[in-house]
Amino acid sequence: MSVLIKASQLVKEFKSANKSIKVLKNIDLTINKNDRIIIYGASGAGKSTLLNILSSLDFPDSGKVEFEEIDIFSKTDDEISAFRNQNIGFVFQFHHLLPEFTALENVAIPMMINGISYKNAMKKAEKMLHKVNLSDRFSHKPAELSGGEQQRVAIARALINSPKILFADEPTGNLDSENSKIIQDLLLDLHNKLDLTVVIVTHNSELEKIGNRIIKMEDGNIFEIS
């Protein structure tokens, strides 16, 4: 079992005018290739903060995140951007699609950022939308899609550059149980087919079933449950 991400001694503090809250308290976490990690915990426990740091969107106050043994935060901002583009996929609670672009364009954009031509990116995007069963929604704008469909487009977008790891922050948090089930099955299916490592933050106990590791987060600390 090879290590994909090794986080050590992560500390994050938010300082406001009169007090400071320690949101991450010396967190150590190792993510192996092909893991399906589920993180749950009370609101405000620091789950999103942890996920953002693991995925290079945010910086810790101290501590290190190594991705395939390379310290992410020693890179320049441009290098981190390229790294994110090629290695990391995100799905957020709210779909976070770009409202002015069609479903197909939204999916194609990460490829275009990577320097692939519009035409080739669109071709690949069609395949990705097909994989998430949205072949008939290519030219719909996000506003013209249902919540479940939006989230599936977001998943297709997250995976188009064949990232090594997918981070999902409450991907079903905004969906009814039927749509949640669709997303859940889809994530599991993609994990199997694409040989993908996934880290999912969720309140949804159904979603916990797909994990091979369950982590509970409480007051800035993590506890591996199973």
Binding site: L57, D58, D77, D78, S81, A82, F90, P99, I113
Partner: protein, 399 residues
Amino acid sequence: MFEFFIGKKYHKTKKSLSFINVINKISVVGIAIGVATLIVVLSVFNGFREISTTLMTEGEPHLTVQTANDSEDISKYLKKSEFVDLFYKFEEGKVLFGNEEHFEIMNLILIEDSIFRSKQLIYNKLSEYDTIFYGGNLAISFYSAIEMNLQVRDFVQITSFESLENSALTFSIPDITTLQIRNIYFSRNASLFKNYIFASSNLASEIFPDRNRNTQSIAVFLINLENANEFKNQLSAKFPDANIKTWNDNHAQILNVMKIEAFFAYLLLSLIIAVAAFNILTSLTMSVQIKKKDIAILRSLGVTRKGIRNIFLFEGLLNGIKGTSWGFLLGLAIYFVQKYFQVYKLDSSKYILDAMPVSISFWDLPAIVLMSVFLSFISSYYPAKKASLTNIIESIKWE
């Protein structure tokens, strides 16, 4: 280039926010007006400059060559040159000219009879007692005729400054030549019209008796006036001893003044564009504010800060380019309408011209376009730079 792809889309779809949309339209229309105004005004400046160049130089030699001993070789050279339309030898000198009632100081030019009537000199003859102006006869301008109350067939006396000087030194009576006015001419060249009279070169030894005629003056008219400087260089390379002057040298000061005027007009009118382009700054700043979440998403997908900056630079620049293009077309349209249909007339009792002259100088166009695009770039840069500094985490949380 994904930055262009996204910037273009942002530029196109802002209908949701009519306020931004209005400011955008103002910036496009303003830039268009500025560009069109610049094109039209500069073409008017240019039109007037061309006209006044024509008027200033009408009948004036494009080059004058003074030479001590090369005169035959130079003549041969001029005869063969493809640039040269006409050339002739002449003598020139200040004279006192008049009759018992009036006299004036004038520049007298002595040329061969046939030359006076050649088309290059364009001295329209108002009255011609004698079609040929020969031997002891004289041509004066209509202006002098009115001023001095002279008519064709009148007799006048001419004394050169040289002989006046001489007589003062030797206490003798100056040589006075009596001539009959045979010709009254008209010229649009104010200097020729007011200060010159012409007579036949046969009179040279009579009017300027004490002159040493080793040095000769040659006047040259070129087929194209614009080649004057080039031809001067050619000629002085060939005949280094000759003293050569072009019409440009004689009028350098006024021509420079006109060029400086046009340049300041260019700078001043660029302010219209600058003010209009400032609206890009406003609308783009708002656009960036609204798109904070988009920016965060794009950053999370791997767009660099520079990439974000470029997206908004494109969005802003597209406004500038749109305005510039419309203004360019509008300006050219006005120019062509004026040029071919003379819509804007001038009062021909006051002006020599009956319509506002317009002429586009080729390099004005890129200068105007570049200025406009540059100003749009400047006003897009600040908001675009600001967009690139958006914090990912803070902006992505909003829903």
